[in-house]
Amino acid sequence: MEEYRNPFEYEAASKLTPHQLLEYYIEDFNYSRFVRSKRNVFLVGERGTGKTMALRYHSLPVYVLQQKKKDDELDLSIISVYVPCNTPLTHRREYELLDQLNASLSSEHFLVLSIMDRIIESLSEINEFLTSDDEDHLRGELSYLLNLEIPVNVPFFRALRLAFGKSSSDAQRALNTKTDAESSLRNLLSFTSGLLPLLTCLAHLPKLSNSHFSLMLDDVQYFNPYQIKAMNSWISYRDNSLFSFKVATTRVEYPTLETSSGGCILEGHDFTRLDMEQPYQNKTSAFAKMAREIISRRLATIAVGKTPEEYFPLSAEMAQDIENAEAQAREEADEKFPTGTTKQKDDYIYKYARAIYFRNRASKANLPPYSGFEVLVHMSTGVIRNLLDPCYYMYDAMYSQWHAESREGKPIFDSIPSSVQTQVILSRSTKKWELTKGELDKTIDDCSREDARRVYQLLDNLAILFRARLLSEISEPRAVSFTISNFTHDLQAKLEPVLTVARKAQLIYVYTSSGKDLGRREVYYMPNRMLWPVRGLDPIGQHARVSIRAEHLWNAADKNKKIPFNEKEEIDEPTLFDFT
């Protein structure tokens, strides 16, 4: 029997092999020029936004494979070392039982050893990297500097990793003792006594004499407070010629910027921040292009020779109805602006055609036949995992049907019929609401029953508001994101925990853009657009944000009160500088 392989698999990037990474990853120059730079960079985004993929793609083992495939010479000017931090070792908590000094030293010890081990593991990927002379020198220098017993008669890199492992195990064993752990902790390594000497010794090797080590720490939100401070202290190190840090973290648990010495690292000065979540606005936006490339690349793995639009076709019925709605909007535009410019009329059609489609459907009981690649991209809300999720289930539905029919051979699906797309979209949308309504307090850390209820009520009332707007003849009927006005301290204290739970559950994403006052950044909130299909809303939103008073949001969340809707309500129109 053929092994079933879904091309839209979106398991954690940490599980992909270097070969799969090369097959799936779409290099984005906006990220890679930073990831492969000598600067300290923070990559910030929620789960599924591609942080791990971006880091792993640039890691040395993948790079070596890439160069091998291209038959290119290995350029070692930047050596990128991927260090996953969501590991059980990071999650140890015995530091809480220790005095501050030992808590800090032992936390740094584990972090430093994890990085050192990854550096050596990465360098092991390079064939014939060390001459026997290099090996002798390194062995001598490192056993002296690190004060570690490096086993002899074992290949050097392996011996070094064994020594690191032993040092880590000894410290863990000491922490596990039921008595006084402090006195059992010995020979703890720090940045200056472990990592820096290792990098310095490696830089003395002829092959690495011009190399820069880019240390890529993934999921640092799991670090304990001592590890965060230690990492920040390293980032504040002024000389970035030998090493730099690429730090990936979620936005909702963004770590403190405090250093061990009580100072603070500053964005722009000590590090550059890259936002991995990208608001998707139109076909020409960076995310739209990337989404298209991702799906194209996945389709190439099953060799169907189709574009994403061909593989995920729009329902003929919906296409026709939208065309009719566009014609109606054009007529209205002609009537409204008899002497208007083409741009004026096109803007009108852009704003109202899809709204007319939804309004015309309002009298019909059933939901629209949601389908088409464009809808899938919009529903992703700018998150790659959200893009792949419905595609995965659509392919899976096709496979289940094929399997149920006991068909022979290799399944080849030329496209996903729009009916299957609609069915899956509505089912995933329903699932999202089920999560929202009944599961948040079971799945999100420290989400109380009350906050779970509030998140549901908030989103429910937003859906009601957006639906009312969609069916009304207002200036921006398809707006599906919002800003918060009159956000007083008191209301912030009440509403923030609710928004935080919603963000942790990826039901709401937060972005910033330039506000109406030039230079001022404005925060806006975009509910996950996968919520909208089952509520009869248009996942293809428009360039507009509804300004909602904080008290109305709080009343919606807490008391399940409808958010007031006034057809004359002001809309925050984006400025020229938005969405670029």
Partner: protein
């Protein structure tokens, strides 16, 4: 006669007081069978009001003659909980005394910490578990806290090895999913409770199979979580291929006795760590009655 119940005298009973009926009913039974010289009764501060009446009754059971030492624990403050247990055991349990753990209403984290502290004193441990007649129909617990590795039972982790998570499941598949989401393990090994007690087939087995239908790489196995030795044997056999080359973390969301089996596995394999998945809210009508008592030695 119940073949799974055989209890002998021991010096100390350690329990965690609860508002559930089986706490008092079980303790009353133990008083006669164990004839302790001291009782250590912990209770969780967050539920102090709910357990107050039962604690007062428990004090009366043993009075006069058997001192009942009461100490607070805290669901949301694991550090304080660890310290209170360690200090209490240090102060009130003598080396090599015999100890009976009344685990029916004891959270798994408390079970593990108490076992570790008592064992460090060289004490013999027997355990007693009371099955209720029924559990609450709608929900048992909610508002999960962040999963946490238990202090000092944290194993010895290899640097940069993949993670293997073993879960013995209970009635809430969302908590299992939360653990998988949080630790992002390379390998997931799930032990499903056998039998249809408490609607186990629908509420546990089928729920879990449905919840993880997309995760094709999961290793499933059947387990009788009410039997410590068979659970241990199943865990041993299912982790055999992972224990050397991966970082193994273990947890139980199923029968409390299975938590003891995981503790024994940890004793056999110092590399393996125990993980606790807390719930910040527990149903006041969690269970009712006392159906059957199981006991054994650790």
């Amino acid at each position: 006669m119940n073949p799974h119940y055989s209890i002998s005298h021991s010096d100390i009973i350690i329990t965690v007081a609860s508002w559930e009926e089986r706490f008092l009913l079980g303790l009353e039974k133990l008083k006669k069978d164990v004839r302790p010289v001291r009782v250590i009764m912990f209770h969780y501060d967050e539920y102090a009001d709910w357990s107050k009446e039962n604690r007062e009754t428990a004090q009366r059971f043993f009075s006069p003659g058997v001192p009942v030492v009461e100490r607070k624990l805290f669901s949301r403050a694991p550090l304080e909980t660890w310290k209170h247990i360690a200090d209490t055991v240090f102060e009130h349990v003598q080396a090599h005394q015999s100890v009976t753990l009344h685990i029916s209403t004891m959270p798994r984290e408390a079970i593990w910490i108490i076992c570790a502290c008592v064992r460090a004193k060289g004490c013999e441990i027997q355990y007693v578990y009371n099955k209720p007649i029924a559990y609450a129909e709608d929900w048992l617990s909610r508002d999960p806290g962040r999963p946490r590795i238990v202090y000092k039972l944290a194993g010895i982790f290899g640097l940069n090895l993949p993670t293997t998570l073993l879960v013995i499941t209970g009635f809430d598949s969302e908590r299992t999913k939360q653990l998988v989401r949080f630790y992002e393990p390379r390998n997931v090994v799930i032990g499903l409770q056998q039998g249809d007690q408490y609607e186990n087939i629908i509420k546990n087995r089928k729920e879990h199979q449905k919840a993880f239908d997309r995760n094709k790489g999961i290793r499933w196995f059947d387990v009788d979580g009410y039997d410590i030795e068979s659970t241990l044997a199943s865990v041993e056999s299912n982790l055999k291929e992972f224990i050397e080359d991966t970082n193994v973390i273990l947890t139980s969301l199923g029968p409390k006795i299975s938590a003891l089996a995981l503790y024994k596995y940890h004793l056999n394999h110092e590399k393996a760590a125990l993980v606790y998945a807390p719930a910040n809210e527990v149903n006041r009508d969690y269970s009712n009655g006392l159906k059957e008592t199981l006991s054994g030695r650790l």
